[in-house]
Amino acid sequence: MEFLGPILFLLLVVVLVGIALNTTVLGRGMAMPLRQMLKKPSTSQYPEQPRPVTPRFHGRHQLNRYDDGLEKCIGCELCAWACPADAIYVQGANNTLEARWSPGERYAEDYQINYSRCILCGLCIEACPTRALTMTHDYEFSSDTRRGLVYTKDMLLAPAPEGAPDTPHRDKDVRERGHNYYGGKAVSPPGLHGGDHLPATARTMSRASQVLPMAPESEADWGDAPGREED
């Protein structure tokens, strides 16, 4: 039974040390490294091995294109309007018959996001009427200059899809593709939107003849409008 004394003593020491580690500040501080020594290391190997982000991560913006290379952005400035940080600058301009950047009349001549202001909230994405603006998973865009944080249109614009020409396109080529860019019924064929506006007097102003047919007369006129055929 003479063992009992040292065992009880050791037990008492362990209990006291345990209490000390759990209740005193010093003890809790020392307990953490002790515990960590027993765990598997969890060091993130960034930047060698960046970890995947969640699917809906709000990263750097991107200006998307249609499959044929036309830009989806129409320069409407709704993103700039929605932006709570006033980080977006858009300058719209007029598509012409010779140079067409987007379907419709309007395109973004200049598009800039200032990432020293942007809070990556994504309200701009919600505002975009053409899904031109989306957010990527890229978050590596720090800079040591203010200017380096201002992303211009060429930096934000997605590359043209394979085989598709870069913008601008000629209006004639776009029309020949016969694409319906917006889907749905209430959409005019792309070629009729925008372009150089001819003086009204130079056109036939016999009024009724200018009303377009309510249904496509031929494929060449309207192209394959998916929205129309589905209905």
């Binding site: 009729l192 009204a200 102003m205």
Partner: protein
């Protein structure tokens, strides 16, 4: 019968004058009934049906914009009535059936009444499942106005404006039913000086502006209230800028002046602010002459100015010509600078050769209670003298037209021509160019005689005199082109009638220059140089013992400069080469004298100058401007302007400092305080007496085959406002001559024929319009016109010109022409 009615709107009682529309009565209660077609300055039409309200006891809901309030009515708007609310929601759904939802592309997006209404009162879902009506997107109804018919809700605001306000009904509603659309006539372009207003009043994005197309959104723009500097109308406007650059200008409501309108020149004429030819740094000509002046820094330029003005420490004889565009403050500073620093009274704000008597007449005018827009509208009879209001002061034309349309005002024109006012005239008293005074004196005499011996004057004069006598406060408007004695004669006539007179100059602040004494013999605050007490007052205020002796006018200044008696011409925004009638005189003066000029945009005169100092434009500065009524309006800067430009007064203060003087102020408040010390005195000088005209009347009809040239610029010419504004310039009316049929017949020319005018050393060929509106014996020639291959300046034609038809062969040069053997 009382003149008021009492009714209840949404449970609140209100008493309004009889004839008040329900929509106006509701506004007085703070209830805004949704509307698209209703506009307070246009006749009610009830086209959009959006303002439907419920009136108790009436069979059906009614449109508030066409229904006059009646006594005892109980009206319920969308706020209190389900019937009204459902009707409005239904109507909005109808409007949106064919209205494309391309708001993101549309320039109106963000400031669109339809968009706002749909957000506030509309249903969020459309029940319409079919295809929308489609048209070509946009068609250009003019170079300046684009029409997108898909967006049109057929409110007829634009067509009513054109018909009722501007009187250019080129734009109309065509077709019926679903295909009804706004369009222009096939063979008549929409040629209006007021087309920009239809863009501003369009409640949807159907009419948009070419120059503002896709430039900005409302939230991008910084708006500054301003006053237009295009002419002496003094329209209130809003300057809207994005990133320090003016993107558009809108008419700002000022019911006393421009109501809710402005002209295209005021609206679209801002391209010169950013033009390539804009002067952005001082230019100095190197000492060896002949080269173009080259860019220099301000220190160099100002040092050069000092060495020109005072080569040996003494100021050399200098004249200051200011051109009538300087704001009041700058005009005052220029006057004080000339008289205290340069020690000369040789100042003139005019770019035309004024008759010697004009100074007295202007001084008499400045002290008087002159006519206002309101007086013009209420007058009943308005006499215009030597004035083409649409080309010279377009907003005055709109007011004259309003008086003509609403109050059946009788408009009478005295002079060689009155331009488009001719269509509205009740009587026309044609005179030779500059001979208006004689007719005005005849009118005064006819009034005196009271019809006793009417045989002395022509029946027309007697008739006009009767009309003038039949109203309480007739108005006489005298243009700056009116000849010798016309202003004084008009003043005497107006006094005799108990009516009002006004002097209507073209340049934006000619009236302000007059008030600030920027002409020889005149001094600030309506003081006269030849009045010893008044002269002493000014001298005392300026710390001088004695003001310089009375100076000379433009003609004499240029003559003396050509002779080398005046060494330096200090120009403040004057293009002598373009504007002054005598080419020889100007050439000589510019060659002989050293020229210092302040200007905004490079021109023919800056090319001759030794020092060119770049100044801020109206949109880039603060100041005060006095319009033709004498109404003073302050304006503020909308944009900063190029970095190196300065205000006119800033430069003058610096030059004063360089010459070792002190004007006593260094900022605008200081100038205003200084001006206040010389506040206008209470004086009403008499009009100069009528001159004896018996010999001149005979001399005018000398029996030869020459005509008198009636030279003045059209509204849209080659002036500064059309620089770098291609869309505006494209809407300029085709330059043309005008001839009376009696003068055209001997020449064998008819409308549209090319005619050559020769006079002095100038010759020019333009198509002619044959019209009885042009007085016989005169020919209208557009100055500074946009005619492409016009080499000679029409200003240089001189008074008497010969007119000849262009041989028909030369017009078709590529075809073989048989030579007359």
């Amino acid at each position: 019968m009382t003149d008021t009615v009492t009714l209840t709107i949404d449970g609140k009682e209100i008493t309004v004058p009889k004839g008040t529309l329900l929509i106006r009565a509701a506004e007085q209660l703070g209830t805004i009934i949704p509307r698209f077609c209703d506009h307070p300055l246009l006749d009610p039409v009830g086209a959009c049906r959006q303002c439907i309200v419920e009136v108790e006891g009436q069979r059906k809901p009614m449109t508030a914009c066409t229904t006059e309030a009646a006594d005892g009515w109980v009206v319920n708007t969308h706020l209190t009535s389900d019937v009204a609310r459902t009707a409005q929601e239904g109507q909005l759904e109808f409007l949106l059936i064919n209205h494309p939802l391309d708001c993101p592309m549309c320039d109106k997006g963000g400031e669109c009444p339809l968009q706002d209404q749909a957000m506030a009162h509309g249903n969020h879902h459309s029940r319409f499942v079919d295809e929308k009506r489609k048209y070509d997107k946009p068609v250009a109804v003019s170079a300046q106005v684009l029409l997108d018919r898909e967006r049109c809700v057929l409110c007829a605001r634009c067509t009513r404006f054109s018909d009722q306000v501007s009187g250019d009904p080129f734009i109309e509603l065509f077709e019926r039913g679903a295909l009804e659309q706004v369009a222009i006539y096939e063979d008549e372009p929409y040629e209006s000086y007021f087309s920009g207003n239809v863009i501003q009043i369009c409640p949807v994005g159907a009419l948009t502006s070419t120059s503002y197309r896709f430039k900005a959104r409302p939230f991008d723009l910084r708006s500054t209230p301003s006053v237009c500097d295009g002419c002496s109308a003094g329209c209130s406007q809003t300057v809207q800028a994005r990133r320090g650059q003016v993107e558009r200008q809108l008419a700002r409501t000022n019911m006393a002046v421009n109501e809710m309108w402005n002209c295209d020149k005021g609206r679209f004429g801002y391209g010169h602010l950013t033009a390539d030819t804009r002067l952005t740094s001082p230019l100095v000509r190197s000492d060896d002459d002949g080269e173009e002046p080259v860019a220099a820094d301000w220190a160099t330029a100002l040092t050069r100015v000092r060495s020109i003005l005072a080569p040996d420490g003494e100021v050399v004889p200098t004249a200051v010509l200011s051109g009538g565009r300087l704001p009041d403050e700058d005009a005052y500073v220029a006057g004080k600078f000339a008289r205290t620093v340069l020690g000369t009274d040789d100042v003139d704000f005019r770019t035309r050769f004024a008759p010697a008597s004009e100074g007295d007449a202007l001084a008499a005018l400045a002290g008087r209670d002159t006519a206002t827009y309101d007086d013009v509208e209420q007058a009943g009879v308005v006499l215009t003298v030597g004035l083409d209001p649409e080309e010279e002061v377009p907003i005055l034309y709109l007011r004259l037209r309003k008086a003509w349309r609403n109050t059946k005002a009788r408009l009478v024109s005295v002079g060689a021509s009155s331009g488009s006012l001719a269509e509205l005239l009740w009587r026309r008293l044609p005179t030779d160019v500059g001979a208006e005074a004689a007719v005005l004196d005849d009118l005064a005499r006819a009034l005196d005689r009271d019809g006793d011996d009417a045989d002395q004057s022509s029946p027309m004069v007697a008739e006009v005199a009767d009309a003038l006598g039949s109203v309480d406060r007739p108005v006489v408007l005298v243009g700056e082109r009116a000849g010798d004695g016309a202003l004084a004669a008009a003043g005497r006539l107006a006094d005799a009638l108990g009516g009002k007179v006004a002097w209507v100059p073209r340049r934006s602040n000619a009236r302000g220059a007059l008030d600030q004494g920027l002409a020889a013999g005149l001094l600030p605050g309506l003081r006269r140089h030849d009045d010893d007490t008044q002269r002493a007052e000014v001298a005392a205020a300026w710390g001088l013992d004695e003001l310089p002796t009375r100076g000379r006018d433009l003609h004499e200044i240029l003559t003396l400069a050509g002779k080398g008696k005046i060494k330096v011409l200090y120009l403040l925004g004057v293009d002598l080469v373009r504007d002054v009638a005598d080419q020889r005189l100007v050439d000589k003066a510019l060659r002989r004298a050293t020229v210092i000029t302040h200007d905004i945009v490079a021109n023919a005169t800056t090319a001759h100058a030794d020092v060119v100092l770049p100044v801020t434009a109206s949109q880039e500065r603060a100041g005060t401007r006095t319009n033709w009524e004498g109404r003073r309006q302050q304006f503020r800067p909308g944009v900063a302007g190029p970095q190196l430009v300065q205000h006119d007064w800033e430069i003058l203060v610096q030059v004063t400092g360089m010459l070792g003087h002190d004007l006593g102020f260094t900022d605008l408040d200081g100038i205003r305080a200084d001006m206040a010390a010389l506040a206008p005195i209470d004086t009403t000088p008499d009009w100069p007496a009528a001159a004896d005209r018996s010999d001149t009347a005979a001399a005018a009809d000398d029996g030869d085959d020459t005509l008198t040239a009636d030279v003045y610029p059209l509204l849209l010419d080659n002036g500064v406002h059309q620089v770098n504004a291609p869309d505006l310039a494209a809407t300029a009316h085709d330059p043309h001559l005008r001839l009376h049929p009696d003068d055209a017949a001997p020449l064998g020319v008819s409308d549209g024929d090319e005619v050559t005018v020769t006079g002095g050393k100038a010759e020019l060929t333009l198509p002619v319009r044959v019209t009885p509106d042009q007085a016989a014996g005169t020919v209208f020639v557009p100055a500074n016109s946009t005619a492409p291959d016009q080499v000679d300046n029409p200003r240089h034609l001189g008074d008497r010109v010969t007119v000849a038809a262009v041989a028909s062969g030369s017009a078709t040069a590529d075809q073989p022409v048989e030579v007359n053997a």
